[in-house]
């Protein structure tokens, strides 16, 4: 299990968000999500400067098992993608909250934190799923 950093926010779709100092937001999938997917073998990333709607398709992560869509948890513009994943998608398995980040977005509006979970709330959410 990767340790869950305390400065992250989480969605019910098992994504994490981190607010950067420059106002952008880094997004990845959670340790629970990577565990459920299994070994990742391919990641389809969005284009730089692509505009994403909240809930729109942002990336596709493919494991040995299946392909899963990753939806944008906020609206905004893609300012960076993790190119390392093209050759080493397993970074998401080994370091989901660090080197396995997927996309960085410049939000187009205010982030509705009420729709996101704290680390504790997310942990409780996952524990209830496992029951």
């Amino acid at each position: 299990m990767s340790e869950m950093p305390g400065d992250l926010l989480f969605t019910a779709e098992h994504e994490w968000l981190r607010r950067e100092e420059d106002g952008s937001v880094t997004i990845g999938i959670t340790d629970h999500a990577q565990g459920a997917l299994g070994d990742l073998v391919y990641v389809e990333l969005p284009e730089l400067e692509q505009d994403l709607e909240n809930g729109g398709e942002m990336a596709v992560v493919e494991s040995v098992k299946a392909a899963s869509d990753v939806y944008a948890p906020i609206a905004g513009t893609v300012v960076a993608v993790n190119e390392v994943l093209a050759d080493d998608p397993e970074k998401i398995n080994t370091d989901p909250y660090g080197d396995g980040w997927i996309v960085r977005i410049q939000p187009s509006g205010r982030i509705d934190e009420g729709a996101l979970m704290s680390p504790d709330a997310y942990q409780q959410f996952v524990d209830e799923l496992d029951e």
Binding site: G38, D39, V41, Y42, E44, V60, E62, V64, K65, A66, A67, A86
Partner: protein, 369 residues
């Protein structure tokens, strides 16, 4: 809740992620499917395949019955323990199941059929066997493990009774033998050397423990699927089913056309399809672009029509995506696959993709622009 094999507690002990597979609680993987895959290609892995159905058939006319029931010809089997891979067809030449049949004696044979098709297989065999006075005995008391990989036989041999080791290691491919409580056969579903072992369910956990202690890696159904795909071994329900004939599933080699006078179920329909010349190709595909091929994706062959991927996935050995596909008749060696909203280039390659640890296809040949 589903059924569990005698090894269920061992899977939990080994940290398995359990999934439902045809009504069975089976291990998908024990942490990393890719590592399990590589363990089988490079060393040795063990799979619990106790969910598979073992059926013993006996009777004075059992050989005659199986020559009628199966598309391959059990007349090829004349020595104790010899195995044959075959399809069991319906009258329309659709595949009811694929199976292994072992010769035990002139009046006794053992079949190993798929788990998901158990009920219809048993009903069909009992129904067809009535006229031949065949006794059908499902061996639900037996568990089954597959030990596979270049070191599998050597490591597994340490886990069986000493007096059987030499004869078990001397087994040739597709031969089996009884070794005390164990029935050991040199067969498998991975493209590697190894054994498949049937044994009483109560004895299975101890054998499992001994195999793991000997260094054999526990492997789940996930690795089993990527291994068999690399070996281009068909999966029932994906690559063929009740409405697909062996001729369109790459299994013509399993049909015994000779002798002409042998009447087996599905023969007339098979011959009609063979002679029609319009039958679809069943091929291996290598993805030349980035991405992953998956079951049921549409394949477009410019100028010939459309087909479908029947088994697709990522090949851990090759590091690219591969697939088996049923495509239109014709002479061509490139196609495109619809993946989400994109068209990806694939090349048709000869199968198997991987055998005995070696990549058998030309991975780097470039697509003609």
């Amino acid at each position: 809740m589903g059924s569990s094999t005698p090894l269920f507690d061992k899977h939990i002990e080994a940290g398995a992620r359990i999934v439902d597979f045809g009504g069975w609680n089976m291990p998908l993987h024990y942490g990393s499917q890719k590592q399990e895959h590589h363990a089988v290609r490079q060393n040795a892995g063990v799979f619990d395949v106790s969910h598979m159905t073992i059926v013993d058939l006996s009777g004075g006319r059992v050989r005659e019955f199986l020559r009628y029931l199966l598309a391959n010809d059990v007349a090829k089997l004349t020595e104790y323990g010899k195995a044959l891979y075959t399809c069991m067809l319906n009258a329309e030449a659709g595949v009811i199941d694929d199976l292994l049949v072992y010769y035990i004696s002139a009046t006794q044979f053992r079949l190993i059929v798929n788990a998901a098709t158990r009920d219809k297989d048993l009903a069909w065999i009992r129904d067809q066997g009535q006229a031949f006075g065949v006794t059908v005995d499902e061996r639900a008391d037996l568990a089954m493990v597959a030990v596979q990989g270049p070191n599998a036989r050597d490591l597994a041999a340490r886990c069986i009774a000493a007096q059987h080791r030499d004869s078990a290691l001397a087994l040739r491919s597709f031969h089996g033998m009884q070794a005390g409580d164990l029935f050991i056969a040199r067969t498998g579903y991975t493209g590697e050397d190894g054994w498949e072992i049937c044994l009483p369910g109560v004895a299975a956990p101890a054998l499992w423990d001994n195999l793991l202690a000997a260094g054999v890696v526990p492997c789940g159904l996930g690795a089993r699927d990527t291994l068999r795909l690399e070996a281009a071994m068909n999966l029932y329900g994906s690559d063929m089913d009740d409405v697909i004939s062996p001729l369109e599933a790459g299994l013509e080699w399993t049909i015994a056309w000779e002798p002409d006078e042998r009447d087996f179920i599905g023969r007339a329909a098979l011959q009609a399809l063979r002679d029609s010349g319009s039958r679809r190709r069943f091929v291996g595909l290598l993805l030349e672009d980035r991405g992953v091929l998956r079951n049921h994706q549409k394949v477009i062959v410019d100028g010939f029509g459309e087909g479908e991927i029947t088994s697709g996935g990522y090949s851990p050995t090759i590091g690219k995506s591969i697939a088996l596909a049923r495509l239109p008749a014709g002479d061509y060696d490139h196609a495109q696959v619809v993946v989400r909203d994109k068209l990806l280039n694939v090349r048709i390659v000869s199968t198997p993709f991987v055998r005995n640890g070696q990549i058998r296809i030309d991975v780097e040949e470039k697509h003609d622009e």
